[in-house]
Symmetry: none
DNA sequence: AGTTTTGTTCAGCTTCCGTTCAGGTTCACG
DNA sequence: CGTGAACCTGAACGGAAGCTGAACAAAACT
């Protein structure tokens, strides 16, 4: 899951980036409205968190602009305690939810999760694939009800594939969602992760949950029983 | 455990804060309804103690407002002796218990404990994890029926983890529940507490009650036998 | 005052995981 | 078949996250 964070205060921005990364989100950041506008146009984020008081271009205007261009990701706005009326304007402009500063990190996590869930259309936070269960809220995989020890990147890779089941996902798309900004890497990280994942979530090799589509990427296979 | 105390009389408020802190609770305070409303909306308290006679916004209205917004923490209301009918209104508005002023501190402690216990879903005040028993009301841990000498912070850390067993708790979440105000983010206090805790509650290292989840925090492990 | 207990910081150590690399395997073409 | 590209995999490295003993600071107690 990739998040764009737009916040001009250096200290707060740093804290939020840390916090979000700790929750295993991939975070890009922008310091002013101009940068935010551009990044939002160029990259396909899963969520944007926007502080309304911004230099150069106002947060409200950034949001309006995005929405005019049919950029769809959910937007969570941050407002200072005093000017709460901003939030109304923000919601009108096309934001999806708001948070008044200062806030507890848990509160932020909750809203972020809710928005992402709503957007990806998974009402419940558990995905079941036979023996394998993905607990999206605990960020944990279970095999035969036993927790599988996945590292952060392994889990994220699995989650992305599983939430796009049936579709072939290119290695480029995977890297873009796993890493922030610059990834001009010719490396085989993804192949390694997939290899380790396969071993861990299907040791006997019977399920074949992740299949290789040569030249195109990987696909998570599961037949949805209606 | 973090408590919001709403009381407009300076003297009483000071006394109560002291008393509660002495019981190792983390206490935030509000002097009027407006502040109370805001704090309750923004922070995730474990309990609120609300005096009904408040400036700016009446205590009853604060409670109603919170409950409308699905803010769930238990609420204990304080009423003056004369107007006991307030208490009915308060309970209707969504409070969980009441106390008539003046009261003995012991009585307050008892209600607070009871409400916190009820809220965390532990019918009885003892949690048993094999050899280790947590006595929530005595705020004490027992190992093989022998009391374990835990300091206040050690105990609180343990209690928070144990009452959220199975879930990974980040260091940030822990600090937020252990400390009232802003905290220094780059410090390893939590790691130290965890280290000391592990030594004390599981000297032989066989139980592995507290496991670390790299990048996510710590998790208290216990298999609930139905 | 002094003493003890508790909380916090620091530095060095250990463990783990993301990354790389090298060599092997499979597959799609001819 | 043969060849090259795409993919797999085991091993190793290095840096970051976490652990820990000890020193220091602050509080609580006498």
């Amino acid at each position: 899951m990739r998040i764009l964070l737009v916040e001009d205060e250096d200290k707060l921005r740093g804290q939020l980036v840390n916090a979000l990364q700790q929750q295993h989100y991939v975070v890009d950041m922008a310091k002013d409205g101009e940068e935010a506008l551009y990044l939002g146009q160029e990259y396909n984020y899963d969520l944007a968190i926007v502080d309304l008081g911004l230099p150069k271009i106002n947060g409200i205007d950034v949001i309006k602009q995005w929405r005019e261009e049919n950029i769809e990701f959910p937007i969570l706005i941050l407002t200072a305690r005093g000017n709460w009326q901003d939030k109304v304007e923000g919601l009108d402009a096309g934001a999806d939810d708001y948070l008044v500063k200062p806030f507890h990190l848990e509160e932020l996590y909750a809203r972020v999760k809710a928005l992402l869930r709503r957007a990806t259309g998974h009402a419940k936070s558990n995905l079941q694939f036979g023996k394998l269960v993905l607990d999206l809220s605990a960020k944990q995989a279970l095999l035969d009800n036993q927790p599988v020890e996945l590292t952060a990147y392994e889990y994220n890779t699995l989650e992305y594939l599983a939430t796009h089941q049936g579709k072939a996902i290119s290695k480029t798309e995977l890297t873009e969602h796993l890493y922030a900004q610059d990834f001009d890497r010719d490396s085989n990280v993804i192949e390694v992760f997939i290899g380790r994942l396969r071993k861990k979530i299907d040791p006997s090799g019977e399920l074949k949950l992740i299949s290789t589509v040569r030249g195109q990427g990987y696909r998570f296979n599961w037949v949805n029983d209606g």
